[in-house]
Amino acid sequence: MVSDSLRARVGELAARVNGEVEESLGVLELTVNHSDAIEALNGAKNLVDVPCDFLHDLCGMDLEDHLEVVYQLSSLRGAQRLRIIARVERDNPVIDSATRFWKGADFLEREAFDMFGIQFKGHPNLKRIYMWDDFEGYPMRKDYVIESHEQRAIMRVRKEGE
């Protein structure tokens, strides 16, 4: 259930950041371009009456013609929920980091970087989190080609301090 005040506030925010609002599975979705993402997140965090100030998930998506970063927001001060989707170019996947608002975005952004190669500008420690450092490619992208059975059977060399 989306409350009327949330719908109104998100509508105002969308007009400010050139976004589109949709409702999907009982949650409002605000879709913006990557250049407006940080403004949209800041706005959502400081919505009057219905602040969506808790980032409970962040992930990447691959839609073949472009990439997306999905922010799932909720709050400890009410039942409101909001999903912000930021479109990112596929050739130059750069977006501003959300770590300036939420410290917890650190590992989530590293995961999105590891799996999709999305560069988060302003991230304090942007490196791979699941895969090893010299792994090549971004495995969750649609065009990623998995290495052959024989290649994966070769033991890689471990680096000290990994």
Partner: protein, 171 residues
């Protein structure tokens, strides 16, 4: 004739409290009744491995209950779970740290062949590409009975080295 002579000799020896047998046979008899597995649980198979050691299935009946936290005190490695490529060098290192003689069991489909993750970018398709495996236990995860059966198969293998070699090379 020769056999009779051997028996006669043995009788004489027995009177003087000397027993002659192959030392390797004797050592193997000791080894198969006291495997010290190193607990290398990687995924859900480790839960079944733990349950095998528990009171209900009681691996201790066979003398195998000493799950060692250090590979240096173990002679059997149970690879229980999905071996990822990030983990592979660590697994090999732990195997290398075990003193000889040593054996390895691949427990579960993932360790046998990669299982449901055989086509994943992150998973080694079968632990046998990293570590020489003696016994494969299929199942997802295998029940504790399967693990016990697998360890008893390893016991057979060690007790009858010649036979195990023949089965391996199909003669």
């Amino acid at each position: 004739m020769k056999n009779e002579k051997e028996l006669r000799d043995a009788e004489v020896m027995a009177e003087t409290n000397i027993l002659r047998a192959s030392i390797e046979k004797f050592l193997n008899w000791g080894r198969v009744h006291s495997f010290w597995p190193t607990s290398f649980g990687l995924a859900c198979c480790a839960i079944e491995m733990a349950s095998t050691g528990g009171a209900r299935y009681c691996l201790a009946r066979f003398g195998y209950e000493v799950f060692q936290a250090s590979p240096r005190q173990a002679d059997l490695m149970i690879v229980a779970g999905t071996l990822t490529r990030k983990m592979a060098p660590v697994a090999r290192r732990i195997y290398d740290q075990m003193p000889e003689p040593k054996w390895a069991i691949a427990m579960g489909n993932c360790a046998c062949s990669g299982g449901p993750f055989a086509d994943s970018y992150a998973v080694v398709p079968g632990a046998d590409s990293i570590i020489p495996i003696d016994v494969y236990i299929p199942g997802c995860p295998p029940r504790p009975e399967s693990l016990i059966f697998g360890m008893l198969q390893l016991k057979q293998k060690i007790q009858n080295p010649a036979k195990a070699r023949l089965i391996k090379y199909g003669k």
